[in-house]
């Protein structure tokens, strides 16, 4: 009897369930859709509320986050200080270079560098080899912050319109290019502008004539010229450099080619041993390495140039 009653009861209930009025079926469909939407909405949210629901968890996460932010600020501060020092040092070198009486190409010509060294009887460890061994590589650090935090600095404060009259006057040749400069590059030029009034009128004219040429050079050439200039400027007086440059200009093409070849040989001799190279290869980034130069014959003007082609 029970089984029969259950069977008939089920049958009747099924029929009553199947014959629901349209208003009820429509309401059920709407309710179902609402439930599915709510579930999808909830599934789309990460389980943050659940995970961080307890006060202990919130404090733990907060403290961890605060520590992390603290470390970041400290690291950023240290790096910023280092960066400012680098900007100052590079600005000083650039200022000397753009007022130097020798053209920039002189410092990119390996033949002239060898000629100068030979004439002065200096060991080959000054300009050429010091470059190969990685001198003046602090320049490379110049890019780190801009690369890590592109646009992080407020370039609005370095906008051309916001510069002082003296700064605008000193950097007038760069006005059209100013917006294309990265914040760090602008800072470097502003440091040069702030010391511009210390130059003699002749130096000021020469500096402004050289500015556009300097910024239009490939970054690798600028780095190269900077590194070599930095290594010879103290060792060789300006007058001597000028004299040697004039003598070098009078050399025959064959003689110059011999010097370029000699420079390449010196560079090869001064290149790191496999062990040194291994150590150099382990350095953090390729941008931080000055690669061995290519053949002097194929690229005489910038035979010692680094591979980095970043603007500076």
């Amino acid at each position: 009897m029970d089984d029969d009653l259950i069977y008939k009861t089920r049958q009747v209930l099924e029929q009553s369930g199947a014959n629901l009025p349209p208003r009820v079926t429509a309401s059920l469909a709407a309710a179902r859709q609402k439930a599915l939407n709510a579930a999808q909405l909830k599934a789309g949210q990460p389980h943050l509320r659940k995970r961080f629901s307890s006060p202990t968890a919130i404090w733990g996460v907060g403290l961890t986050f605060a520590s992390f932010i603290g470390v970041l600020i400290a690291l950023n501060g240290a790096q910023r200080t280092s960066l400012d020092l680098d900007i100052g040092r590079i600005a000083a070198i650039d200022q000397k270079m753009i007022v130097d009486r020798l053209p920039v190409q002189a410092y990119l010509d390996p033949g002239f560098l060898v000629f100068q060294e030979e004439g002065l009887g200096q060991p080959a460890s000054t300009s050429v080899t010091s470059l190969v061994n990685g001198a003046s590589i602090a320049i490379r650090e110049f890019w780190s912050l801009d690369q890590l935090f592109p646009g992080a600095k407020n370039s609005q404060t370095l906008a051309w319109a916001k510069l002082t009259n003296n700064q605008r006057e000193a950097l007038a040749p760069l006005e059209s290019l100013w917006t294309t400069f990265e914040p760090t590059r602008k800072k470097k030029w502003l440091k040069i502008a702030d010391r511009f009034h210390l130059l003699t009128p002749n130096e000021q004219v020469r500096a402004q004539e050289r500015m556009q040429e300097w910024v239009s050079m490939p970054a690798s050439d600028r780095q190269q010229a900077r590194a070599i200039f930095d290594s010879v400027v103290e060792a060789v007086p300006e007058e001597v450099r000028i004299m040697k440059w004039n003598e070098y200009q009078k050399l025959s093409p064959a003689e110059r080619a011999r010097l370029v070849e000699l420079a390449a040989q010196k560079i090869a001799d001064a290149s790191p041993t496999p062990e040194q190279k291994e150590i150099a290869d382990a350095s953090p980034t390729p941008d931080q390495k000055v690669s061995p130069p290519g053949p002097a014959q194929t690229r005489p003007r910038s035979a010692l140039s680094a591979t980095s082609d970043k603007p500076f």
């Binding site: 209930l13 009553s16 309710a31 439930a35």
Partner: protein, 186 residues
Amino acid sequence: MNSKALDHFLVATERRAFRIAMIGVKNEETALDIVQLAMMRLAEKYGHHDPTEWPMLFQRILQNAILDHHRRLKVRRAWLSLFSELVPAGQDPESSDYSDTLLIDIADEAHREPEARMSQRQVQAELNAAIGDLPLRQQQAFLLRYWEGLDITQTALAMGCSEGSVKTHCSRAMKKLSETLSFLKP
């Protein structure tokens, strides 16, 4: 969460859920609200569970919602009884909660044809009335076991009681229904 599986489950369940809620609360609007509530809670809280758990979980939510409705009703009645003297005779302030249109319509129809052979719709009405007259827990146990097809363990979980209680409720429900629905006897 598998939305498609949940959708299929709700489609397969919603009509029976409505009938169960209807029998439990005897009001269409309230029954629809309860079914919607059960669907929402299942989807939000248990949507990521194994779909095999959904039938039991859904029924538990549904039955709890029906129980909650009755508890609220009981409290309201207790308060209203205090003011019963102020209510004019013949007007039941609770009447709207019991205006089960389906049951009333069917009951009316049954009254219009007292001598006629019981139609399918009349059988349905008798059955609805008989189940509706069962105590709520017996009603729940009976519907979950014999309509929803849950086993004793699942029914006990859905009802939040022991398996022994389920057996007792089912046994008493069957006894009463077999007395009331004697016309179904062969």
